[in-house]
Symmetry: C2
Subunit: 200 residues, 2 copies
DNA sequence: CTGCAAACTTGCAGTGCGTGCAGCTTCCTT
DNA sequence: AAGGAAGCTGCACGCACTGCAAGTTTGCAG
């Protein structure tokens, strides 16, 4: 099934990771607007021209989505036990994804979040590149609940989940609460129809 | 209260509108990537340098939000009859905004939507510039329901409403249904907690 | 009306982004 | 080992965007 990646592909992933890591690190140090593509590629030991063979721009190198995340999330949504609602399935999928990524390389995520915190526009842009994630998530939802994949419901749930994720990340970077907790809270509010909260 | 705008401000709005109109028109004709800032400013009769005194880039000129929309929406949310839920208030505010804008200059909106349809990235970018709208909407919601303006709920409802709006516009541009109808459907789904729809 | 100050426009120069192209190197296949 | 496929790189080009230092228009007070 899954043969050896081969030296070529291994190097590709290697340079991609290097570019991403350098981009995030430099952006966290100086602020992203004071980082040029030349800096990043120099730090990763490749030519500036090569940078653009991997990313469409420096923003994508910093907050761009894992190209495999979309498929993973979609599969998790479809595979989730069918007695739960679609919202539950999406919640579980997102939590699993977060847990896995955070475990993988926690330090890179923290740097990334520091960059995002200083530059909130990136959060939205991240989900602009994440339109891929959103579309595939919508496909998974459609398959799960058994409606046409171009219906309103799947697209809406996917978009709302993306919005909840975005808000959760934004809030996580300002308060001292684990991301999982905030994310659950947000998705539960969504599942509750965004009913008015108790006044404080 | 509201004194005469004065010649200066009138001219400013005039050039801004001209730039916006030319940008949308050209983008609808050739596709936005084949429109340069020079083209737009030439069409509006100003220098390219002046263009950047009004917009941060050509994308903003095409899909950028009305700078006054944020305040309008916020006020409508706060002023909505208090016996309704916050979601209802947001729904009413968005519908009113859509109705007003569509009535104002319907043709420009149609052109805009044609551009967006050929270039879906703009929809997300539009709400990147609309982060202002979203923040003020969140403020209004916070005031309305009586919670801190940096709480989770207001930000989440604002973001979810934005997502619903975005999905509704996307769907509107593919099916032949009035935007108001799709928007109501989307927001009602949101208010119903995104419960699983009946299988088709 | 006049003159001043603030606001707006403009050209210029400079940095950086992003892309097409052509040539070269590296890897994989047979 | 030979050929082809895929990746890397330098070059050149057009465009986006910004700071600065003028020039021009508008609003206002005297």
């Amino acid at each position: 099934m899954k043969s050896e990646p081969g030296l070529r592909d291994r190097k590709k992933r290697q340079t991609r990771d290097a570019l991403c890591r350098v981009a995030v690190t430099l952006a966290a140090e100086r602020g992203i607007e004071h980082v040029t593509v030349e800096d990043i590629s120099a730090g990763a030991g490749v030519s500036p021209r090569t940078f653009f063979n991997y990313f469409a721009g420096k923003e994508e190198a910093v907050v761009g989505p894992d190209p495999e995340a979309a498929a993973r999330i979609r599969d998790r949504v479809v595979a989730h036990p069918p007695h739960d609602s679609a919202v539950e399935a999406v919640k579980a999928a997102l939590l699993a994804e977060v847990a896995e990524n955070l475990a993988d390389d926690r330090d890179l995520w923290l740097l990334r979040m520091r960059v995002v915190q200083q530059n909130p526009v990136l959060l939205v842009r991240a989900f602009a590149g994440g339109e891929d994630v959103e579309r595939r998530l919508a496909d998974g939802i459609a398959e799960r609940v058994g409606v046409a994949s171009d219906a309103l419901y799947p697209a809406l749930l996917a978009a709302a989940a993306g919005a909840a994720f975005r808000v959760a990340v934004a809030r996580w970077s300002t308060v001292d609460e684990p991301l999982e907790h905030v994310l659950v809270e947000a998705l539960d509010l969504l599942a509750a129809g965004l009913a008015d909260p108790p006044r404080t």
